[in-house]
């Protein structure tokens, strides 16, 4: 490995004029405006030709299932794509925010052919419109499916019916009330209930 993740993030942020960059836990990431989505990927393509994936995150203050964020930020969808180089170990996540009222971003299919299926998946799961996508139909879900499953407002029915089957949830068991205080499992001790 030649460059550290923070150097990689800084270099590419400067190259494409990103709004900000970060490298938490060795994960280089730059943030750009949605209007520059295609332009930025075209600029990065020479250095980072491997298109790894594209996906999205639903940032919501209230959620149907799971844990909401500790500090609710602005409600938005974050669209992410991950690119990497070949054999050098450099990788970069490119991220942009789009509004929830009008979730749309330009399709990357013209830059990376592999974006096709990833965008179809993000479209059906989050309800994001990828403008210019040649064939934006459902990928996994059946044709008549209604709703966008990976949105936080989409309930997971099995969890609505029954919060968690059985008594295996360690945190709710009375004997483990002070787990955070100091009851640490030693390296040698087998876990209970295995």
């Amino acid at each position: 490995m030649t460059a550290s993740p923070s150097e990689i993030a800084e270099r590419y942020a400067a190259m494409v004029g990103a709004d900000s960059f970060s490298a938490d836990h060795g994960t280089a990431k730059i943030r750009v405006a949605a209007s520059r989505w295609i332009e930025v990927h075209e600029a990065l393509r020479t250095d980072l030709p491997f298109f790894s994936w594209l996906s999205a995150i639903d940032w919501a203050a209230e959620v149907a299932v799971g844990d909401p964020p500790e500090e609710a930020g602005e409600e938005r969808y974050e669209v992410l794509s991950r690119l990497s180089d070949v054999g050098g170990g450099a990788g970069l996540i490119v991220s942009t925010d789009i509004s929830k009222s009008d979730p749309r971003v330009a399709s990357l299919t013209g830059v990376f052919g592999g974006a096709d299926w990833h965008e179809r998946e993000a479209a059906e799961m989050f309800g994001i419109l990828f403008e210019g996508h040649p064939h934006l139909v459902k990928l996994y879900l059946p044709d008549g499916f209604e709703g966008y499953p990976l949105r936080k407002t989409f309930p997971l029915l099995s969890r609505e019916v029954k919060p968690w089957p059985g008594t295996v949830d360690v945190e709710d068991m009375p004997a483990t009330e002070n787990v955070e205080a100091g009851d640490e499992a030693g390296g040698a001790e087998p876990e209970d209930g295995e």
């Binding site: 030709p49 790894s52 592999g114 499992a185």
Partner: protein, 396 residues
Amino acid sequence: MTERDFRAMNLSEVQVSVELVTPDVTLNLGPQHPSTHGVLRLIAKVDGEVINEIDPVIGYMHRGYEKLAEVRTYPQITALVNRIDWVSGFANEVPFMVATERLVGVEAPERAQYIRLILAEMARISSHLMFLSSYPLELGAATPLMYALRERERVLDLIEGVTGGRFHPNFNRVGGVKPAAGAGSDQKKVVQDLPEGFLAETREAMRTVLAVCDDMDELVVGNEIFLERTKGIGIIPAERALEYGVSGPNLRASGVRFDIRKTDDYLPYSKFEFEVPIGAVGDCFDRYMVRLEEIRQAARIVIQAVDTLPSGPLQAKVPRVIKVPRGEIYVRAENPKGEMGYHIVSEGGRGPYRLKIRSASFSNISILPWLLKGQLVPDIIAILGSLDFVLGDVDR
């Protein structure tokens, strides 16, 4: 009039038109078809023998792991992720655990990392042996299956001996690996480590795996029919492969020396010597040969790791309830099928806020509409098989 006369009469009356009208025929392959390795459906528009357009239909195996992960704790998700690519279940767990550990800020002890590495390479051997055996079968050669599966079973037995499961080990824990099954201790508090005789049996298994690779070389690679069916068929140029995110042996067959084991440090691969085999043109034959050679290299790694296995604890000290601080991380690994990665977004708490699963087969077969266009119908099976995908890894 005999039947023969009747035929002769009819034939003589047939008018052969030089300009045959051959409208496109829609050919439906799957979802239930042995060559689809699960439930993949291909809708092909064919003009005679030539494919004009192909539309893969996936999602029959979609289990919604990304949504399910949002209501589960990190240790619970391990049980989900080793069902993604079930041919190499153990290898799926590793990048997820490494990502979680990095978010929590713990590191697995060296011995646990070595055990992970040994089992991950065994998973690669098992996955590739499955390919080496099933691919000739799809092209009409039944015998290699028996040879390769015999050794695969031996490797799976070893994995089962350590983890308790052949396909779904669920063996990793945040901060290390589970104390192994099968050590034979009747005292609960005694540390259970690798089963007795594991190291010796592993060496023996690697010897036979290397031997079966030579067998496959002789049985398959020199076969005239096999060469005819695979050489020059289904060529993926390197540039196209990168653009589609095709990874692993499929990418290396196209001549790109890209191996995450060499670039990333999710497991201590830098301590071992191994080569990264690449192909010349990226046809079905190269994809076969790259995997054959990768088994040899994986066996080489396993033997080195077994010889230098350090002693020590299997688990780092972690709280009983794993709480992950805020953060975002992407960790990828070189799995048998290619790049497998997990993008975890944590907002604190016991489960992820969002988990994106990057699975190799999904990207590997997303190139199919491009790759199969213009190919001949009989080559569909040869090309599909050579990509070595698993539908669980496509649909997640």
